[in-house]
Amino acid sequence: MLRNVWLLATLLILLHGLRVAFSVPADAAQGDLSRIFYYHLPAWIGTSVFFALNLLCSVTYLILRHRNPARALQADAFAVASAEMGVVFCTVGLVTGSLWGRAAWGIWWTWDERLTSTLVLWLIYLAYLLLRSFAEGASMRTLAAVMAIFGYLDVPLVYMSTRWWRTQHPGPVFFGSPGSGVDASMLPALRWNITGWLMWGLFVAGLRYAAVLRQERAEAAAARALLAVQPARAARTPGLPEGDRA
């Protein structure tokens, strides 16, 4: 029920966001081209939020894995869901950026500071997801959590290195040099779209979380069932001293 209400609210907000994105005044310099920014920025906010959630859940998993295995499993399931969601947002951000770049710069791609660092970020989290698909069970979860920490540690270094390497991306729109920021008339389009897309991200991540958790629990139950069969057999063997059964 709650899920359906959430989905409905998300869709309504996204629809409204789309309407507002087309109705706010066009950018003074770029004209209608700037409207893609209402999708580009929410994608980046989604990327940052979900990759940070991935780190948080990974660390939680490592802390809780012995103390509270059930909670740790939940944390791990949300770590996968948020990494996947982060990669989706990152892909949307790269694609919308590329579309804008084609119209504004005349090229689809350039090896500039922010584009390169984002691409590297995307690669790091693909590697994380790949690692998860290459192994199973508790050891995979631990290794993936370690990889998530390594990946996140790399982010500032990637950013610094590409920044010194070169830069072409327009300066930060928010919190940048004086005169940055968008005109107040454009803010509603940003607000609605950021809210809508984050809600959409949380909805999909929630679905994935439930699916991953169910799968992990099923695997754990299967493993327990397998273990339960063996002591039962040992118990049927007569004359075995207590100590040998373990």
């Binding site: 690669l123 693909l126 631990t142 290794l143 540690l153 270094l157």
Partner: protein, 226 residues
Amino acid sequence: MKGYARAVSVQLAKDLRLEWRSKDALNAMLFLALLVVVLFSLAFDPTRAESREIAGGILCVAILFAATGALNQAWARELQGGVLDAQRMSPAPPSAFLLGKTFATFLFVSAVEVLLAPLFAVFYNLQVKGSSALLLLVLPLGTWALVGNGVFFAALSLRTRSRELLLPLLLFPIFIPALLAMTSAATAIFTGDGDPLLWIQLLTGYDIVFTTAAILLFGLVLHSEP
């Protein structure tokens, strides 16, 4: 502290002895690096001026490819005879194994670089325009960045299916900032344009961050349940 240093040196001595007897990793790395250098030279056929521009990148990529093969073997060797299980049960701190193995692999890769450097200069008609002494700083720092992370990720991928496939997939994305710093510094030294010091600082920072993280997190990797 003394016990820790001993544990590191025991692992280092063991790896050096093993390599000295077989020389598998060294031979394979040297030949592969040589092949990469030759292949790039044939594929791009650079002029002398172009050589200076691209030599830094080619040298780093050649080392990267060559080291990956050796890194794959670094821990796989320990699986034979259950050595890894013995290490897991030993009271020595896990990071001592990691450091010992990292030092050993670092020495192997550095040896390959020393042997490769003259050949590289000949094939690419390389005349260094900047201060070549700085290369003695850039190459070890870059090699440590590669090997430190490489040994860690090799241990991490040991528990996975098709681990030899997985190692470069995990290592290369994480290594990108170090590769960028290493190639930019080397190119700055070869061409004499630009200042390599900024890149050397970045490499140093990268080494410190990831070596610390690897030392702190290696216990989790070594003792993760099979």
